[in-house]
């Protein structure tokens, strides 16, 4: 992974090589697998991070849904870095990785991410094509079978919030959904990392209804962002997606929750608009450091509430 840096935005080629390198160099802690391929045929790598052992509960975390949100994949890489760096040294991370596994998907929308590096930095969607239109791509976070295309999504292929011709129409969302369906018995929490707005959201977004454990999710979000704020004072808001940000159907967090994963959150990382999607690399470190505190708090809670 020549040229890879945790404090830089890395190209997909570098990230792909990095997934190989970290799993090869840390065989007792990290294993790499493929959960599918993208529309353009690229392999979707998943890293399983945790001390090797049978029947451990797991947390699934994905990054890189929306191509232009570059801080998101940077965080998934940073998480793996911290796992490697502090396992066996830092008591909390060591306990977490001894008792939990983290499934980390560094970039879901690889085709779109590459497109932002090579053609259009502002691209958001996948790069899939379909008959009947010259417009490209589906919004992966409108493509899940959770109130699919009911609200806050568009049925027009040219729109940025296009929900796709059908739920799970995208190879990328289908691959993620299939993996989670196949591992539901072990996955206790689902986290999806986006930007920007500095928010921690939980279901539902596809409806104003609340989850049966919304009081628990609310308290957990409140405590997690309190942890986050201790490092650099970064202020987050939190709440159910529909009322905290806006109603939007087809989201992966709602879908995961309805699959039975009772701890399901969307993180919208820095910032609040000063740079937006163009967050400078100099903010990768502070953003990831503070987000680690929230994720570790969440993981400890999940561990204590099986």
């Amino acid at each position: 992974a020549t040229g890879h840096s945790y404090e830089k935005y890395n190209t997909w080629e570098t990230i792909e090589a990095w997934t190989q390198q970290v799993s090869t160099e840390n065989p007792g802690l990290i294993s790499r697998s493929a959960i599918g391929t993208t529309f353009e045929g690229r392999t979707m790598y998943l890293l399983k991070v945790g001390k090797a052992g049978p029947n451990k509960p797991a947390i699934f975390m994905d990054c890189g849904f929306h191509a232009r949100e570059w801080i998101s994949p940077a965080f998934c890489q940073w998480f793996v870095r911290e796992a490697i760096r502090t396992y066996g040294r830092e008591i909390h991370m060591t306990e977490l990785l001894d008792k939990l596994d983290f499934y980390v998907l560094p970039v879901l929308n690889i085709d779109g991410y590459i497109y932002t590096w090579t053609k259009n930095r502002m691209w958001r969607k996948t790069r899939s094509t379909q008959a009947g239109t010259t417009c490209i791509g589906t919004d992966p976070n409108r493509n899940f079978d959770a109130g699919w295309c009911k609200v806050g999504a568009s049925r027009k292929p040219c729109d940025d919030t296009y929900c796709g011709p059908a739920a799970e129409s995208e190879k990328e969302t289908k691959a993620l959904a299939n993996f989670i369906r196949s591992n539901l018995s072990s996955i206790k929490a689902y986290l999806t990392i986006h930007s920007y707005s500095q928010m921690m959201l939980y279901p539902y977004s596809y409806d104003y209804k609340l989850t049966e454990n919304s009081a628990e999710l609310n308290a957990l979000a409140k405590a997690s962002i309190k942890e986050l704020a201790t490092l650099h004072g970064t202020k987050y808001t939190y709440g159910p997606g529909a009322t905290t940000i806006y109603p939007a159907a087809g989201g992966s967090d709602d879908w995961a929750y309805d699959q039975g994963i009772k701890y399901s959150f969307t993180f919208e990382l820095r910032d609040k608009g000063r740079y937006g999607f163009v967050l400078p690399e100099s903010q990768i470190r502070p953003t990831c450091e503070e987000t680690m505190l929230a994720i570790k708090h969440l993981a400890r809670y999940v561990l204590e509430h099986p």
Binding site: N120, T161, Y246, A248, G273, Y275, G276
Partner: protein, 94 residues
Amino acid sequence: HSGEHFEGESVFRVNVEDENQVSLLHKLAGTTEIDFWKPDSVAQIKPQSTVDFRVKAEDVFTVEDFLERNKLQYEVLINNLRLAFEGQFDSHVR
């Protein structure tokens, strides 16, 4: 970066007070190519919120004129997106 250069493109933030101003933004989106940053689309704009969106260089003055004529309160978050892109690669590692 062999693709679009975004020279002179700007990102606006508009404070939306009421339904009338929501309608005005729908009208603007109907006549000008707008890339909504937050919320994701014009359909999700609601009163008492802020809206961030990007416009092409050739539309910046038209958009500013529209916002001022309709007394929409706004600020320019990013003046020239190309410079912001260059500025994002500021890691000391580089």
